[in-house]
Symmetry: D2
Subunit: 345 residues, 4 copies
């Protein structure tokens, strides 16, 4: 049994993570920590746990004191908040999977440019890895600090990766138009997150400056061996869960639909969690799962490819990908605890 | 392994049932039959199955021909449509769990009064049972024809049962005001089920004549040893899943909140799938589960009890209760394949 | 032109009121006041006003200083907050329409029992009136302090009134099961009001202790000439607007469906804003209007009547009823500015 | 009074048009025609009209027989269905505003390529005009056959027009990613339009082949004096109304944010129905109105402009734009009957 703790259980991603860990055969949850909700029973915060799991949330300090008794800690905190827990875990010699953004970028300056706060613990950059198993599975296995990718970034990188890897599109032609359910905004008490404000409307936000742009560019640049700049636009959609990332790229001369299909087939045919569809993906079919559904079209008239990539933002975009990474670094079957299908409707 | 087939897989309840059976360790699905969708692959009807289960729907006739090879058939069809399959299964000596309404009432005249169609195969009335495990577990075990309760009826009977059983309310004072998500209307192409028609509105329907009234009265009458008449009003709510049944009853003189609590505790304390809450239940916490969450209030001012009972209409109200009944009649752990928690949000 | 001001414009009811007043031919809006949003332009709070009305919100103090220049002030504030403004308006000799609860109950003790705060300015009780035009139009006309009814109360009283007035039901048999859209909870930043918390779920709340019970009982008692106690249960529905109030009553012996229909016809046939339907009302058809749609069923089996009453909680349940009251006390056509139809879908 | 008739009142656009015409001071509605719903009262189809307008739907034939008594006919029919009515109107010498697609393209071959049906009545091409008042107001005034633009096209053309007109972007760099509420799919009884199928999901559809592409290209080509090809991707969003069209273009060298702003200011500063925002537009603020809200960002990193254009698909995208065109061709104030604000929430 892998002994784990969660620091930051009271947000949607943290609670979803707990949900998955409780159903995972190889895991024992030793503690769940929450900042402002410390002392409260998890079932009072999330009624789905009632009768199944009745632990109280502890403070971060209480969590830190139990680091000696666990093999792995998950941190699910806003950016700028997880560095201390990560550092402590590293020093104690236990593994850490950070669902936050603090170790996703391997360039401190870039981090500070996008996040407007100082990068903490730069000494951990070399110990950490941006962990998207379908892209860099092998490199992840030995790392101590696992930076779990952002939700938009997961959908976008998985959708764009074969195009870049196989050199099919003009590298700086990428435009990503992404749409997310409202749980992406977290359980924060802001006017903009209220039911009546989100319902029956759609908007773009953080236009031309959303932070996930940085990690998408970083990872695609790594693949391209060439600096990639791309335009990323997120939207807020009136639904609880789901991200649909639509990626537009200018095809290099002569590239056909068949070339594109082959590239995706080549890179993803053995990936259980990626389903290549013949139709346009819909977020409802990946809801509650670790799947990334991908559909592709080519528009001959304009010489462009359109890749549509759908995930559940709280699952493959956060918690279930964290479990996938846990399985990976502990040598378990990557699918363990993750063979979930979407429940519909 | 229990070998099973589903007749009527293309509706929401049928597809949900398949979902559960595929994840059940003790079951092998031999065929899935659909009427108008025969010949289509299930993944084309429900994209959640893509990559996991790729069987084609067969015709009912093709299903019938395989009855010799299975131990159990599930029928999930509109009322009046399952009698033939049920009769055939009975004659073949295999068990049948009918998610439809055709064998729920044990009085053919009553059936015809509410359903306006003839009762077929009256000879099976004695072989069949209204199967709500928390109420009549022992009687279910030996029966061949299992009439799976209706969704509204499940929530309502479970909410009212301890009140009647322990004689706490005036028997003919019961008013049930129930609210259901839209999946209860099925996957039928009617104007009233369109997104824009249901969204942003609420209405009552089938006021004073909804068919589930008959089965609620039948089962409560059985418990009361006295004919019970009650008023039942269903509502359509703009959400996919969930039923909240609110039951009002006039307390007998001297009955207290404590008496009520004790009655529920006495009858349900060992029932895994019933959670007695100290707060008002919310359908979101039972979504995707076999749980029935119950909350109770007493209004001293008017001498009334208010029982609130929440289920997932497609789960405890249909498919997962069918699996619970299957577990029961095949001697498995009743929880097998059903230890699901609600995924939130 | 009636010169008006709004104290409390930043909530949903206040903003909806401004919307109506801007389109009303006989009204000039002199100021809009908001507490925490003072200094902000209304268009920054509510984007629908952009390009049409660009006034800044003033402080309450700034509003009070302009009471000499207006004929009428609307207060749209949480309970316990409007008494000062109302008192000042009264002392200045201007009329006031209070959308809050502070002058709805004419018994200070009753107010304190339900609201848990002291009744302020009891000396105004005799100057104020609970103003539901369809019930007590004539009494409203001369009053200075107009207590605009609560949303649930409006739907419930209008639905129950003819039953009580004409003596058709047993007076203490009334049970009201009401369902409201989420705007009823206001624009307050609470976890329970977040999109993901409300969406895809339904729950009852304030069971057996919701404050609107008091005003429903008060007004029906006035009609009955006998103390009426009733049970009221509100529910939160995942939609923006709309209240459906379902009223159950035990028919007196011999009362028929025809008697009921006649009673409603008699009392409401000349009421423009009440539509007696032959079908069950749906909130979508009254959304954005001052209509109250009423449908009636009788259940002979249980001897009960079911009255379904649908309004828009922000309109007939708050702002448009306030405008109707304004029209009434200033001698305008009651329909002025209120001949809106629901926009569908 | 302009005497008008509607052919095709039973769809969402037709019903919305009736709604507007009933509130328009200068219009008298002589008949409303519906194909499959002929003989039904409009209030039975759309409950919002109850008590306000109680006409029965007539057949198309009955409508045609009244063409002599009207000044203008609106046709709101699926493509391929309005040509006969349009031709008849033209022959009778009355004006016609077609909300359908049959006269939007002025090239029959292009029409047939996109719509896969023959162009009917090519002789009317010269008599008809693609009527987007903000773009070609003067040309519209004298025309007999008014082709009302498509919903996606309206939002997209208005958003892209100043960029093309002022030569600010590379002409063939345009990518449009648009999102629409579900009413755009009409009131048709298809599985894909059911509540449970649309709710809680997002998808792209008609990728690289949506028919509105043709009209967007046609109108932008006209402005550019150069053939424009662009990529257009529509999405289905779980909400009733609203279109957000996000337009991406590659800036010509040296073009700045200020240049862009000036271009929009120059072209739209006198347009009442276009609101240039400093923020990202949200569909909720234009719901139920004839407004087009536009927001602009420039991404210096990638040298691209992002124009976000929001309309109500049934209003500026269909019915209210039809009324705007009516006002225009009959010499009324263009705003007559259209000074509606969004009702929120």
């Amino acid at each position: 049994m892998i002994k784990v703790g969660i620091v930051g259980v009271s947000g949607y991603a943290g609670a979803q993570l707990l949900y998955l860990l409780l159903q995972h055969k190889g895991v024992e949850v030793k503690f769940i920590a929450a900042h402002s909700k410390a002392g409260e029973e998890i079932g009072d915060l999330y009624g789905n746990f009632v009768g199944k799991f009745s632990q109280n949330c502890c403070t971060f300090q209480e969590a830190y004191e139990q680091f000696d008794e666990i093999d792995l800690v998950f941190t699910a905190l806003p950016h700028g908040k997880s560095a201390d827990a990560v550092k402590l875990a590293f020093d104690k010699g236990i593994k850490v999977i950070d669902l936050g953004a603090d170790f996703r970028l391997d360039d401190a300056q870039e981090y500070e440019k996008w996040y407007k706060v100082p990068f903490q613990h730069e000494e951990l950059i070399n110990e950490s890895i941006y962990a998207l198993p379908e892209i860099n599975r092998e490199e992840i296995k030995d790392k101590k600090v696992i930076a779990n990718p952002g939700c938009y970034a997961t959908a976008s990188i998985l959708g764009a990766y074969p195009l870049i890897k196989e050199g099919l599109i003009e590298e700086n032609s990428i435009i990503i138009d992404a749409k997310s359910g409202t749980s992406g905004a977290g359980r924060s008490e802001k006017t903009g997150n209220l039911y009546c404000e989100v319902n029956e409307s759609i908007k773009a936000y953080s236009v031309a400056n959303h932070r996930h742009t940085a990690e998408i560019e970083q990872e695609l640049t790594r693949v391209a061996n060439d600096k990639i700049n791309l335009l990323f636009t997120p939207h807020l959609v009136p639904m609880n869960r789901g991200i649909l990332s639509v990626i537009y790229g200018k095809l290099k001369t002569g590239v056909t639909k068949e070339d594109i299909n082959k590239a995706f087939e080549k890179n993803y045919k053995d990936e259980y969690f990626i389903r290549l569809l013949k139709t346009a993906p819909e977020t409802r079919w990946v809801k509650g799962t670790n799947f990334c559904d991908i559909g592709i079209e080519v528009d001959k008239r304009t010489g462009r490819v359109i890749v549509m990539s759908a995930i559940d933002n709280l699952m493959k975009g956060a918690s279930s990908q964290a479990v996938q990474n846990m399985n990976l670094i502990f040598g378990l079957d990557e699918k363990e605890g993750l063979e979930l299908l979407a429940m519909f409707p």
